[in-house]
């Protein structure tokens, strides 16, 4: 019996013992679950159990399964029955649902969401039948929200470390690299470089180094890039919080494949829960001899250390990340040499994104052929997206590459809320672009998105409606890249600054039509001459909005008008006398006392005192406040 078979047997026994006779009440307490009030639900569940001692159940907090718009979520799993999900629940509803389910066997409730399983149960549909989940394919998120991320036995019992076992016991390192090449897995950090090609280069360099030197402490490194910095994306956080072992397993396999002996996880400090779970997972893996010396009884040794980032977007760039681990300012270096040739402390290093590494165990356990059945010819597999912004169903989703934007936004996302019209989909964050409604049938793959002027990116997908100003969006992203520019190269440091100045001028009513030419002239030179990806991609949001929404720029400049009603210098607030009931609500709420009037008298806004804070429009129950 191999070491892995013994570990697997132990895990299976542990899990079935834990689940045998006790029900599990799970509450999603990821970052968004907490923001939605999940802690109050946890308290309500605990109180209900304390008051009904006959209920035999544990209350646990789990990561989320991605259906964020239904937070806070309540999940109930009774031995021998499928898992039931409810949401969004209030503390009162939590008590009612728990009492119904456990004391009266009544499962259906107006907040029933779905059965998390293949078949319907007690009139509640399977999650495969509800529009948010039906079109999704879960490979990366295979365990998120299902396993307890703090228990290694849960991961192992779900085929965890089976890929590592196959790689170490049945395959040569060369065969593992070949398997990754065959799968066609492309880097999920955004640029889409084939992971297997990166590994091949590193493996060659490490071999050469071992032949030429014999006294080095390390000959190769594997770095997991978990510095998710795109403002509007949280895919990696969810994976690290919900399934930390999958990333660790991917790193160990990568280490074996290229001949590295040490790894670093570079994780954003803003993700404290992910960091805690990773630390715990590393300890558990070491304890089970899945990490450290002579893994699974073989002569392969590999260990991993966690490094916390300190808040710099540019550190998502490979060479900057390396500089940061070395204790320096995280500024990029010209490439070549690529990190796979000379990386951390001059040693060959591969840097893979969280999601890339998370896919590796599946490639190895299922085999490249089976993994590559999903996706398109050049973009294989699935991709996670953080679907957010002006869309009904927000959440963390995973789809097969090649799905159309329309399907993602309208089928999974449920369309645009409040009867408004779709305007743009933003992919790739500050490095990506805004795609208009003419592009809704575009398929999501690396080539199609690049051709449209955007990028796949790490998975941020922000939906914008008619009330989003595209000039303001471009200015927003430039503000971000400009403040995150490390300052090392001139095109990025000064170029982004100039672009931002022009965009700010346009939104402040001082734009000139020649400004658009200046933007179009600056953009390609910044793209072509910046040192790293941050600068090279910084013009994308400007170029795509200029290409697809030029009329909005022109309206700002030529007509002094912001069509979306967002740019403060270009809009005024007025009260419609036909709809105003004189209820005094806006008058009381106005922080600058710009509104005058009396009860049952039509109110008036003084444009001199008005700061366009939008409070009056938001508090008005009669839609009487107009923005022009």
């Amino acid at each position: 019996m191999s070491n892995y078979t013994a570990i697997r047997k132990w895990a299976d026994e542990e899990v079935s013992a834990q689940r045998a006779d006790k029900a599990r009440i799970a509450i999603g307490l990821g970052t968004c679950g907490i923001a939605a009030g999940g802690n109050a639900i946890l308290e309500a569940a605990e109180r209900t159990l304390a008051n009904n001692t006959e209920i035999n159940a544990d209350v646990v907090s789990v990561g989320c399964i991605g259906i964020c718009y239904k937070e806070p979520l309540l999940d109930i799993e009774i031995p021998g029955q499928p898992r039931l999900s409810y949401g969004p629940v209030t503390p009162g509803e939590t008590k009612k649902i728990l009492e119904n389910v456990f004391l009266h066997n009544i499962y259906e409730h107006k907040k029933s969401l779905a059965v998390i399983g293949d078949d319907a149960f007690a009139e509640i549909p399977s999650w495969n039948e509800i529009p948010f989940f039906a079109p999704q394919e879960r490979t990366v998120l295979r365990n998120c929200g299902f396993i307890d991320p703090e228990k290694i036995e849960d991961y192992i019992a779900n085929d965890g470390y089976a890929g590592l076992s196959r790689a170490l016991l049945d395959m040569t390192p060369e065969a593992v690299v070949q398997e990754t090449l065959d799968a066609g897995l492309r880097g999920r950090g955004g640029a889409g470089f084939p992971a297997g090609r990166k590994w091949t280069i590193a493996a060659d360099n490490i071999r050469a180094l071992k032949e030429s030197k014999s006294d080095l402490p390390s000959y190769g490194y594997v770095i997991c890039n978990a510095d998710e910095g795109d403002p509007g994306a949280f895919m990696n956080r969810s994976v690290l919080e919900g399934d930390p072992h999958s990333v660790i397993e991917g790193m160990i396999i990568a280490g074996y494949a290229i001949g590295a002996d040490f790894g670093y996880i570079y994780c954003r400090a803003e993700y404290p829960l992910a960091i805690d779970r990773l630390k715990l997972a590393l300890e558990q893996a070491r304890e089970k001899n899945l990490l450290g010396e002579n893994i699974l009884g073989t002569d392969f040794s590999f260990d991993i250390k966690l490094k916390e980032g300190a808040g710099a977007f540019v550190c998502g760039e490979e060479t900057s990340l390396i500089a940061s681990i070395e204790g320096n300012r995280g500024m990029p270096m010209p490439r070549p040499p690529y990190p796979a040739q000379s990386g951390l402390w001059g040693i060959p290093t591969i840097i893979n994104n969280v999601e890339t590494l998370n896919n590796i165990p599946v490639v190895l356990s299922q085999g490249a052929k089976s993994w590559a059945e999903k996706g398109t010819e050049k973009s294989k597999g699935t991709k996670t997206f953080a679907l957010t912004g002006k869309v009904q169903n927000t959440g963390l989703i995973e789809v097969e590459l090649g799905m159309s934007l329309r399907k993602v936004i309208y089928d999974i996302g449920g369309g645009i809320p409040d009867g408004k019209e779709f305007k743009a989909a933003q992919t790739g964050g500050p490095s990506g672009g805004c795609l208009p409604k003419e592009m809704l049938d575009l398929t999501i793959d690396y080539e199609a998105l690049a051709e449209a002027g955007s990028i796949m990116g790490s998975g941020g997908l922000v939906i914008m409606d008619e009330s989003t100003c595209m000039v303001d969006v471009a200015r927003y992203f430039l503000t971000f890249t400009q403040s995150e520019s490390c300052g090392k190269c001139v095109p990025c440091r000064l170029g982004t600054k100039r672009m931002l100045e022009i965009l700010t001028r346009i939104t402040a009513r001082h734009g000139k039509i020649e400004d658009l030419d200046a933007l179009e002239e600056l953009a390609p030179s910044i793209r072509d001459s910046s040192l790293c990806g941050l600068g090279q991609s910084a013009p994308n949001p400007v170029l795509t909005t200029l290409k697809y929404f030029r009329e909005e720029y022109e309206a700002h400049i030529l007509e002094g008008r912001c069509p979306a009603g967002q740019c403060k210098a270009l809009i005024t607030y007025e009260i419609d006398p036909d709809d105003c009931t004189g209820c005094m609500v806006c008058l009381r709420a106005c922080p600058t006392e710009a509104i005058t009037g009396a009860r049952r008298e039509i109110h008036v806004i003084d444009p001199e005192l008005c700061t366009r804070c939008d409070t009056c429009r938001q508090v008005c129950k009669f839609d009487a406040v107009l923005v022009a």
Partner: protein, 161 residues
Amino acid sequence: MTVSTQDRSALIPLLQQVQVEMGYVPKEAIDEISVALRVSTSEIFGVLTFYSQFRLNPTGKHMVKICSGTACHVRGAPLIIDAVEDELGLTDGEETTEDGEFTVEKVACFGACSLAPVIIIDEETKGNITPDQARRMVRKIIKAIAKESAAGKNGGEATNE
């Protein structure tokens, strides 16, 4: 004593540890780390100012964090920032109020995009917030501070009597 290149990699974790304990990185700590790691203070200062996580000054007693991620931005985060800064009298990019009670921080992304816009005041996280609600949250704390200081004064007088 010589410092190996790998020791240098302890710099950022050390600074992070200081900040966790003190809330910011004081000058004395920079001097001490400089001696221990044999890295010049100017280089440490360079690293400190490069990363947005590090603070060189103490923060206010109450932390107001407003998410400025993309989803929050398109759902009105700039109006929330304006409202909070106006309520606290912060101008020209000031982060901490003069009385040292509040620090306002714009955070790149909390990862709670589905509840945008999001604000965290001390331990309280609130999603789908409006400018008006944000003002009320801040006012509630200001009121509590005023009440506390009044009670403190009264208490002081009582013991004097």
